[in-house]
Symmetry: C2
Subunit: 354 residues, 2 copies
Amino acid sequence: MSPDSKPSKRRTRSTSKATGAGAPVTLEQVALKAGVSPSTVSRILNGTAAVSPEKQQAVEDAIEQLGFRPNPVARGLAGGRTLSVGVVTQTISSPFYGEAMYGIEGVMEQAGYVPLFVSGNWQEADERKAIETLLARRVDGLIVLAGRLPNAALLRYARELPMVVVGRQLRGPQIFSLNFENTLGARLATQHLVDLGHRRIAFLSGDLAHGDAVERLRGYEQALKDSGIPFDPALVVQGDFTEPSGLLGVMRLLDDGAPFTALFASNDQMAFGALLALHRRGLRVPDDISLVGFDDVSVAKYALPPLTTVRQSVYELGTGAARAMLALLRAETPSANLPPPELVVRESTRRRMR
Amino acid sequence: MSPDSKPSKRRTRSTSKATGAGAPVTLEQVALKAGVSPSTVSRILNGTAAVSPEKQQAVEDAIEQLGFRPNPVARGLAGGRTLSVGVVTQTISSPFYGEAMYGIEGVMEQAGYVPLFVSGNWQEADERKAIETLLARRVDGLIVLAGRLPNAALLRYARELPMVVVGRQLRGPQIFSLNFENTLGARLATQHLVDLGHRRIAFLSGDLAHGDAVERLRGYEQALKDSGIPFDPALVVQGDFTEPSGLLGVMRLLDDGAPFTALFASNDQMAFGALLALHRRGLRVPDDISLVGFDDVSVAKYALPPLTTVRQSVYELGTGAARAMLALLRAETPSANLPPPELVVRESTRRRMR
DNA sequence: CTGAAAGCGCTTACAG
DNA sequence: CTGAAAGCGCTTACAG
């Protein structure tokens, strides 16, 4: 034995805290049992190099018997890969992005990755902090759901690690972006109202600092134009995608705006606010006013009346983002294939009567 | 220099992938700059031992100047602490638990911890898998939001690491549980209806496999008893806390049950379903039927009519759980101090007319 | 109070 | 195809 041969361990942390699960099995133990070196086990685990069938088998058996599960923490330190991806969401409790998060989680988990969700709170500073936290945790990639961070900042981060951005248009070597066809969706919604005979169609906009809001406004304008209906600024009011802003917006429209027989809200949440405002003013939906929302959140079909809206599968947006990330991680070129927006006609719209 | 003095590094991985952020600063660099050993830096970082004021200062300056941020991955490997806690939530997109998650995130982040959210999908197998994933990631503690895992299983996991359980009653050395006062809340709701003169009060129960559902049923029964109103099974129907189950439940009640003038739904989501069902049957709320929900989810005030309900601060449930976890992590005894449930009277209830 | 050294559980050039 | 060894960036007994 040479003098510097492996000394017996000094610490006995490996007593393990667990009686329940027993001490975690290490890769070294697997190697021992399989009669190979740790390197070989590692290579089999990662598919890093070809290994003779016998050893392959021996190692697989050992892993099986020992119930070995590689320690992601050690992996992260040694290999630089943590098998985790950071997700900057705006609010972890968002009724809208929640579905996307669920989608992300599903495909990531299947691929052996864990998503780390951090809230950006719709604030640039928080988003930045969230990303820093995620970088410190050495995530392998970053998925950003909308937010307020300037594109330039995102592009900069994308130089450090693969990035997928939802709700923006960005191109770059290690970056991929995908979004709904908001403009098309908004056209569908507006056109539906036009088809029902409405000509005075009010519009509840989202916060125009938000790309989605701008695109939906554009769709509304386009549909009007296509139908030869002049755009009337007195019919447009800005909200911020929340219920209260929908309520307030409609109040303002009713008080100061031009008369209208239909209303298109840029999202369902504002539509709910609108519904309440109209109710308060004694206006009935759809008898007096037809209303269309956007998103088809799960409660939309339980609105009174059930809300006509534009369905965007936020869930699929999430799975799409996750799949794109996986592609990036494999150094492949991602492609997104989102289902187009779809009008869901329920009971909040009807043919114009007056 | 002795022969085994630190050899120059062979690999130059430290070229770093980042031009943007520069190579991450290591603790070693901080030590170098401050003229102390890495051990000392580590001790200052962790408050593990007293250090002379001068060194303390020097190290803090170095950290400041270098912008050093300890690598949690390395910390996790070396120290066994990852500064992360696992959160088993039922659906990452849950409108109900979302608020709790947000609360957890807030207090955890302040304490330097990162929460790892994993969905259990209301399925025992998935919950188990979620916990295994979290254990593999070496989280320092576990917060479990309700779920179907048997108590015994949770107790077993609690032998391995600190655990906080929301929505159950569990006692143990390394475990803490907290929950709403469901029974009290349900009594409040029912009592409110009684106070309005209602005697035939129907009850929409949640899935009785769920503790919360049982407690709310109990509260309903107690309130009736307190008021001398006999319990009538024909007035009770079981749902599963979802909107469709609320809708179906009311339909069934209307078709087969006994007549009623008021309805208490075990949660807001079922109340929304109930609202639609009543609307479909031409029954008006609150003129024909008074309706009370439970939870006060954010859209409750935008229901038509705005829903009378019982407020439980799910957010505070989350912060309470997180604070309890922090206490456990410090080997202290946690204490929870949840605000009591509160009746929020809006417009879905009124004095009995017929 | 403080440092040198070993170790956490992996991965990966390097050298057959 | 495969192993020995160094290293990832920390923490923590051990020994002053």
